[in-house]
Amino acid sequence: MKDLSVQDRPLLQVAGLTKYYGSRIGCEGVGFDLWPGEVMGIVGESGSGKTTLLNCLAGHLAPDEGRVLFDLDGVPTDTVTMSEPARRKLGRTDWAFVHQHAADGLRMNVSAGGNVGERLMAVGARHYGNIRESAQDWITRVEIPADRIDDRPTAFSGGMRQRLQIARNLVTGPRLVFMDEPTGGLDVSVQARLLDLLRGLVREMGLSAIIVTHDLAVVRLLADRLMVMKDGHVVETGLTDQVLDDPQHAYTQLLVSSVLQV
């Protein structure tokens, strides 16, 4: 378990984050704090700016304005203005990014074990035996049969590829994980399995996560807090169950009432 006393400052502090595409708004004036161990969901329809926001937060896109302060050894450090090598290092160590399409986050012509081991080598691991052992351990943790470790992800199902991507990302023990539609395009039964896995990992590793999705059922089960976006702006924030059960903004009410019940 995490020690509650040491986490009384935000892991991430975002203020005034803005990205324009020419005259069009990608996202504008977004601000929030994320605390250690917290999972925040960002929902909104296609084109609402949620993926732009995620990419600005994760350093994949340069925002036009705003700050993204990440707690580095107790010092809130602006990741927008830090040097490119420093940001890339963060992306290999404290941060992880799970893409919607596993192929974007994996090397498809490298074995499953190699995919996981590669990220360890990127942070300096050199001992083959240890790397192989860690890779094996993580491949089992994400419920990929151990005898598939030498297979390439091209031979994996969609759900297995997604779990492999998660193993590759988490093997280096990040503190913050960005996820872009992590369950998108998967069968419902496979989604449930992935949700269960993600929840367990968040709990065990004390991870913080920011999850972009259009699936309200996913955020209800995974996210502590919710941010609703429309046209590049945050229109509502709050506790996940409160926003979903008692939405205040017209757009959130529309979003919640549009979900088909099963």
């Binding site: 378990m1 449930a192 506790l239 008692d246 205040q248």
Partner: protein, 235 residues
């Protein structure tokens, strides 16, 4: 009727609630005004009033699931109405439990883990948490062969009992119970009533909705008729 307001665990003052339906002509529906009552440690208060009077709405507001329009809901030192999400999450983890009528869980998670989760979340070691969960499930007559399965496929009564086991696993100082004895047979009903009595005895402040009148009179020290909090009454 508001005895013990000084050392109340739950204290509600001047609470109001409106729903604004933006997509239905921005209709504003006031549903509650001037709600006030308090619950002392070890006390059980029943919310009464006919169906639609606002019992569940009030319960959801106390849990922070519905936003209040005004007033205050103090649970210990925290005012739910003005608390940040982070403060409410912490309160729900350590102080305020809620047994709803419906079980909502991640599919595939074994029943034993579902019940042990509130203990794990508050730092109980895994072994002790599982042992406590096992004891509760056994007490509530959930057959051991079901413990390793997800409760999503269980019958309504079994799900309700898993929900109760989960709600009573951790000793919350404040507890909200929405129809805890609904859809239970006589034996399990008795077990649940005893669990509630034990929670009272250890000092939990309890707010409950009980359509089961015998249960209500056995458990509850006072009744609060929420009809009195209707906006047209309060005006």
């Amino acid at each position: 009727m508001s005895g013990g307001r000084e050392q109340a665990m739950i204290r509600i003052d001047n609470l109001s609630k409106t729903f604004t339906l933006h997509n239905q002509g921005s209709t504003v529906i006031p549903v509650m005004a001037n709600a006030a009552f308090s619950v002392a440690p070890g006390e059980c208060v029943a919310l009464t009033g006919e169906s639609g009077a606002g019992k569940s709405t009030l319960m959801r507001m106390i849990y922070g699931n519905y936003l209040a329009a005004g007033g205050s809901i103090r649970i210990g030192d925290t005012d739910i109405v003005t608390a940040t999400p982070r403060e409410i999450l912490r309160l729900r983890r350590h102080t305020l439990g809620y047994v709803s009528q419906f079980l909502r869980v991640v599919p595939r998670v074994p029943t034993l883990d579902v019940v042990a989760e509130p203990l794990l979340a508050t730092g109980t070691p895994a072994g002790a948490a599982r042992a406590a969960a096992e004891a509760l499930l056994a007490r509530l007559n959930i057959p051991e062969r079901l413990w390793s399965l997800s409760p999503t496929t269980f019958s309504g009564g079994e799900q309700q009992r898993v929900n109760i086991a989960r709600g009573f696993a951790y000793a919350y100082p404040a507890l909200l119970l929405d129809e805890p004895t609904a859809s239970l047979d006589a034996q399990n009903r008795e077990t649940v009533l005893r669990l509630i009595e034990e929670a009272k005895a250890r000092g939990a402040a309890i707010v409950g909705i009980f359509h089961d009148e015998a249960a209500r009179s056995r458990l509850c020290d006072r009744e609060v008729d929420v009809t009195a909090f209707r906006p047209d009454r309060a005006a």
